[in-house]
């Protein structure tokens, strides 16, 4: 297994969703895992202040939005400071995805946290979403906070214990090992976890059960050696991402962690990607660790 990955700096990209502050507070336990600083980032979309036929570039509107963001961030920074962490705020004008990626590189953050706007099927098919585009392009682990189908959000309520019971979904690939080491790096914040593998051919469940259980056992023991209590669960389902979501609900997981392999849009369109489906459909926060 690769050496465990440490998070020193976290980039929190926000559009000031109602629950964003709660989401931010739920990340404070990462201080116990070595996190030292949170960079708050808000991108003012260029189309909100520019490209206006008569108005040209609305400098005053940009300043208004910039000041509004900075005032909100001041409150948030006070909360971060109270949790014993350093903070910094970044407000820029630009296209959301390239701007966030650029800030990420500049700040050298090891974890990014983003929200996911609920997009309709048509919107997803035609334009994708900023969230999915970010997931395709991010070089660092990314936590996506999603939505319930009825519009409610989980993982964002006041007092939500994000790190109480993360579920690590694994396919035993090299990428999954990286996700495992990332989870191991969260010791201090995470006390207990569940490792899950889904056999995608249910007809071969019995045939593969023993061998797979052994692999899960190894994953669990790696975590236990770092001081994280780990159970493992084996499931089956032709649609692995749906089976993972069911398992998460069954064991009352508080977030899902999975590896994400870099796939381009074409590959994803035709073949799909379990990790991106999870991020797209889960009502729980999903942390994807790129390979």
């Amino acid at each position: 297994m690769p050496d465990s990955m440490k998070i020193k700096k976290l980039l929190f990209a926000t559009r000031f969703h109602d629950m964003a502050l709660n989401r931010l507070k739920s990340l404070f336990p990462l201080a116990a895992a070595g996190m030292e600083e949170i960079v708050l980032c808000h991108i003012i979309r260029r189309e909100d202040v520019g490209f206006v036929p008569f108005g040209g570039y609305m400098k005053e509107e940009e300043l208004r939005q910039r000041n509004e963001a900075l005032i909100r961030f001041e409150d948030w920074q006070a909360a971060i400071s109270a949790a014993g962490l350093r903070s910094k705020s970044v407000v820029e004008v630009g296209e959301a995805v390239p701007s966030i990626i650029s800030v990420l590189h500049r700040e050298e953050a090891q974890l990014m946290v983003i929200g996911r706007k609920k997009a309709g099927r048509m919107e997803r098919a035609l334009a994708g979403s900023d969230t999915m585009e970010l997931l395709r392009r991010t070089p660092v682990a990314t936590l996506v906070c999603g939505y319930h189908e009825d519009g409610q959000t989980e993982g964002q309520q006041e007092g939500w214990q994000l790190f109480n019971l993360p579920l690590l979904a694994t396919d035993f690939s090299n990428a999954s090992e990286k996700a495992l080491s990332f989870l191991a790096g969260l010791k201090g914040a995470v006390k207990k976890t569940a490792v899950v593998h889904i056999i995608s051919d249910p007809a071969r469940y019995e045939e593969l059960r023993e061998e797979t259980a052994d692999k899960l056992e190894k994953y669990s023991s790696v975590l236990q050696q770092t001081g994280i209590q780990a159970d493992y669960h084996l499931g089956a389902g032709e649609s692995p991402w749906e089976a993972i979501l069911e398992k998460a609900e069954e064991i009352n997981a508080t977030m899902i962690i999975a590896a994400s392999t870099r796939k381009d849009r074409l590959h994803e369109f035709f073949l799909g990607s379990v990790s991106h489906r999870l991020a797209e459909h889960s009502s729980l926060p999903v942390l994807l660790v790129p390979d």
């Binding site: 260029r46 189309e47 520019g50 490209f51 206006v52 036929p53 008569f54 108005g55 040209g56 570039y57 609305m58 400098k59 509107e61 004008v93 630009g94 296209e95 390239p98 990626i101 650029s102 334009a127 392009r137 074409l266």
Partner: protein
């Protein structure tokens, strides 16, 4: 509706053109009167006028109206958006880095390059390609706005006059039956306008440059970084688009029914090939190039939404205009005598609204005058043979006058927005009009009127 039956054209009531008038009025007035409202709700406004045109016409004329509206969408709107979007996207894959020296000679050379490229990659493509290096070069200059304003005149408008890829109205003309290379006949007017504007710019910039004090203590013309071009292979895809458009004009491979509307095979082939060029550009161009170009689909989204409504609301109006003196808008044609009138009438409409619908409206007016009751490629062909000066005047007027205001052509306000974001002090709407376009363009267009029309 355009191409509708002669009887329908003659009986279409004047009120059927009201949604088009309403739509154009909103395009002209709301961005000025309520910019934030317009910016956030233009799609709803467009949908309102489109429905106001569609519902009564469908109720009154049933299937005939449905057929004509769908025909407009399939044969004009969709090819228009595919072409514009593809050129815009592919151009966004070419990145010019570096900062040229903002001397009058180099600025003039950059304006010339933008103008020359405009007819190959469209005014929007050329403007997006050259605007950033031009902004980088001039943003430190006190009178940096001058280069940007002449860039709007030239690269964002006049330069697009000689091919159907150059400016949206000319592509609509191509779709209506104007041969691809026919627009080259506007080359003398375009070359004259370009030479005159470059000369005026050079003299003004030379005077400014000589008298300018540095903005912030540095030299007037900053140190430069060498120019580098990334993604230049996208020019091949632009040429591929040109080839696809040319090919469609020379083939005749029958037609197929698309939701009950016959669409020619060559049109489908053209649009398919254009989309292949777009896909190739997306595949071969690293994402980082479009990131550095700050590429965004937003301006195209706005164009696509507004033009959907414009095409729908325009259909009955074009039909009435095609009916000629017998139609309810016959009084407009009675007031237009000769190409000079067309040049200025289409021009004024282009500068206040958008040049694409203005072009179509006056093309149909001319067809209505000379070949009342007829429309389509055969009527356009007769106009080219019988009265080519009219089509030249309409083509030149719609393209040239797009430079008059920030809303005359889509690239104008993009150039303004990008310049202002970089800190260049661009004039407001009326400042641009009274300080630059009226004093510079009116005399120039008067000379063009008397020399060429």
């Amino acid at each position: 509706m355009a191409g509708g039956t002669s009887a329908l054209r003659e009986i279409l009531p004047l009120w059927s053109a009201a949604p088009f008038a309403g739509m154009l009025l909103c395009v002209a007035a709301l961005p000025l009167a309520a910019p934030r409202f317009w910016h956030n709700h233009f799609a709803k406004v467009a949908a309102f006028w489109a429905l106001l045109a569609l519902i009564p016409m469908l109720a009154l004329f049933g299937k005939a109206a449905y057929y004509e509206f769908m025909r407009t969408i399939l044969k004009s709107y969709i090819p228009f958006i595919i072409l514009l979007g593809s050129i815009y996207f592919i151009s966004g894959g070419i990145l010019i880095t570096g900062t040229p020296k903002a001397t009058p000679a180099i600025n003039t050379a950059m304006l010339l390059a933008g103008t020359a490229l405009a007819s190959v990659m469209g005014t929007i493509g050329a403007a997006m390609l050259i605007v950033r290096p031009l902004v980088r070069a001039n943003k430190h200059r006190k009178h940096g706005a001058l280069a940007m304003i002449f860039f709007i005149f030239l690269a964002a408008n006049v330069g697009g006059a000689v091919t159907p890829l150059g400016d949206p109205p000319l592509f609509l003309g191509f779709l209506a039956g104007v041969p691809f290379f026919w627009t080259l006949k506007v080359l003398p007017q375009m070359a004259f306008a370009t030479a005159a504007l470059l000369l005026v710019f050079f003299l003004l910039d030379w005077r400014n440059h000589k008298n300018e004090l540095p903005v912030s203590g540095g030299p007037v013309t900053r140190d430069t970084l060498p120019i580098r071009i990334k993604g230049a292979y996208n020019l091949i895809f632009i040429l591929g688009i040109m080839g696809a458009v040319l090919l469609s004009g020379s083939l005749n491979i029958g037609s197929v029914n698309v939701i009950g509307i016959p669409v020619t095979g060559e049109a489908l082939l053209r649009d398919g090939l254009i989309l292949v060029m777009l896909a190739l550009s997306a595949f071969f161009t690293p994402v980082s190039i479009r990131d550095e170009n700050e590429f965004t689909w937003y301006p195209l989204k706005e164009v696509a939404v507004l033009f959907a409504a414009i095409f729908i609301t325009m259909a009955p109006c074009l039909d009435i205009l095609s009916a000629g003196p017998k139609g309810h808008l016959g009084f407009i044609m009675a007031g237009l005598n000769g190409p000079r009138h067309y040049f200025w009438a289409v021009g004024i409409l282009s500068s206040l609204l958008d040049n694409a619908p203005a072009y179509l409206a006056f093309l149909h007016s001319a067809l209505g005058v000379f070949y009342p009751g007829q429309s389509g490629a055969s009527a356009v062909s007769m106009l080219i043979r019988g009265h080519p000066a009219y089509l030249k005047a309409i083509s030149a007027g719609s393209v040239f006058f797009g430079a008059f205001t920030y809303i005359g052509n889509a690239p104008n306000f993009l150039v303004r927005s990008i310049s202002e974001e970089a800190g260049i002090d661009m004039p407001g709407f009326f400042g641009y009009l009274f300080k630059y376009s009226l004093p510079v363009l009116v005399p120039l267009y008067l000379i063009i009127t008397f020399v060429f029309f």
